[in-house]
Symmetry: C2
Subunit: 222 residues, 2 copies
């Protein structure tokens, strides 16, 4: 029933536009009573994003059960759960993306959903790092970075019309975040005298991949 | 007139609640006609945040004129413009913060305003870094980090009831972002006279992309 209503709603939004479609139109198309709609969806906007509540619940359950050893990796994995929800239904995701670009109310709704994911990730990181001061600050900035990276990769895929594998783009984007934020112990060592700098010496003409490999090897050893 | 309307609206929101106050109540309190309200504010929500449009314009103008040498520092300075708008009127900012916590429609409105600041900062960084691929990704992640750091510092101050200097907390929070995203590789130089080696000195924890960027810049110069 929920699925049927969401499909009827979405077809009508595409055919007539979001603003021009009433809840009465939706229940007529779905062949059910008006109260059925509001039993499943608080508003028309919710019917456009029918999977976010269950996805948020999945993200929360995942983080509650995840191995604690690398919190930044854990919130990146949590972001991948959201991506898989979009990737499971490319045509719907792409059509919804286009619809959302056109309807300010849907964009605002989406922002509030994204904010809830961000707060969930930040809450997990605060639980690991600490609830106050610089720990909370770091948690919130990392959560915002993860969400921005995820959205960058997702958006590329949506703009391309859902072609190819969105996971590759998102993995790459999350990789940047993990590279920057993923090793807090190492970053703390920046201030101390001995570990202050990396000095790398290479013959000129060394290929860039070898330079990178060499630096990575040094950083990895310590 | 705009100021008078915003003040009348805000007093009524505090006295009666946001939802319980109508535009008719506001114009009656301000002693003007109903159309005057909509000449200045598209909606009741806009009257709660009367300064964001001019602040966004100020941020945009600042970034258009700013020195290009350190784009991350520039967007941090742009975020400080927003902070000063809040800090200019502590009592109003704190009352509005409390009101916004209680009214979902105001929270959503605020999210869409924050998103516009974030897009403005990201647009500036993309203009400096590049519009596509990893450059655009980096621009968006840094913009999100700056906004999250700014909001962390601002929120501390608002929660404390507007006591003390909010700039210190925000400066500290933005400092974390600059440390991670803005710290330049200290020195990359061709050290030996006969061009035999590259010596690269970087703070430990410098992200790999920045190391590569710096080496490429040096190699490209010669």
């Amino acid at each position: 029933m929920r699925e049927v209503l969401a499909q009827a709603a979405f077809q009508l939004f595409l055919e007539r536009g979001f603003e021009q479609t009433t809840v009465d139109d939706i229940v007529a198309r779905a062949g059910v009573g008006r109260r059925s709609f509001f039993r499943y969806f608080p508003s028309k906007e919710d019917a456009v994003f029918p999977d976010h509540e269950s996805c948020l619940a999945e993200v929360t359950a995942f983080l509650a059960a995840v191995d604690d050893s690398d919190p930044v990796a854990a919130v990146c994995d949590a972001a991948r759960i959201v991506l898989r929800m979009y990737a499971a239904n490319p045509e719907f995701s792409v059509q919804r993306y286009r619809l959302t670009r056109e309807v300010p109310g849907l964009r605002t709704y989406e922002l509030s959903v994204v904010r809830r994911y961000e707060q969930t990730l930040a809450g997990h990181l605060r639980g690991r790092f600490g609830e106050t001061g610089d720990e909370a600050l770091r948690a919130e900035v990392i959560a915002a970075s993860v969400v921005a990276a995820h959205n960058n990769g997702l958006r590329q895929w949506l703009r391309s019309g859902g072609a190819g594998d969105p996971e590759a783009a998102v993995d790459h984007a999350l990789g940047l975040v993990r590279e920057v934020w993923g090793s807090p112990v190492e970053r703390t060592a920046v201030a101390s005298g001995d570990n202050e700098v990396i000095v790398m010496v290479a013959p000129r003409g060394t290929p860039m991949w070898r330079v990178v490999q060499q630096i990575e090897a040094v950083v990895g050893q310590e």
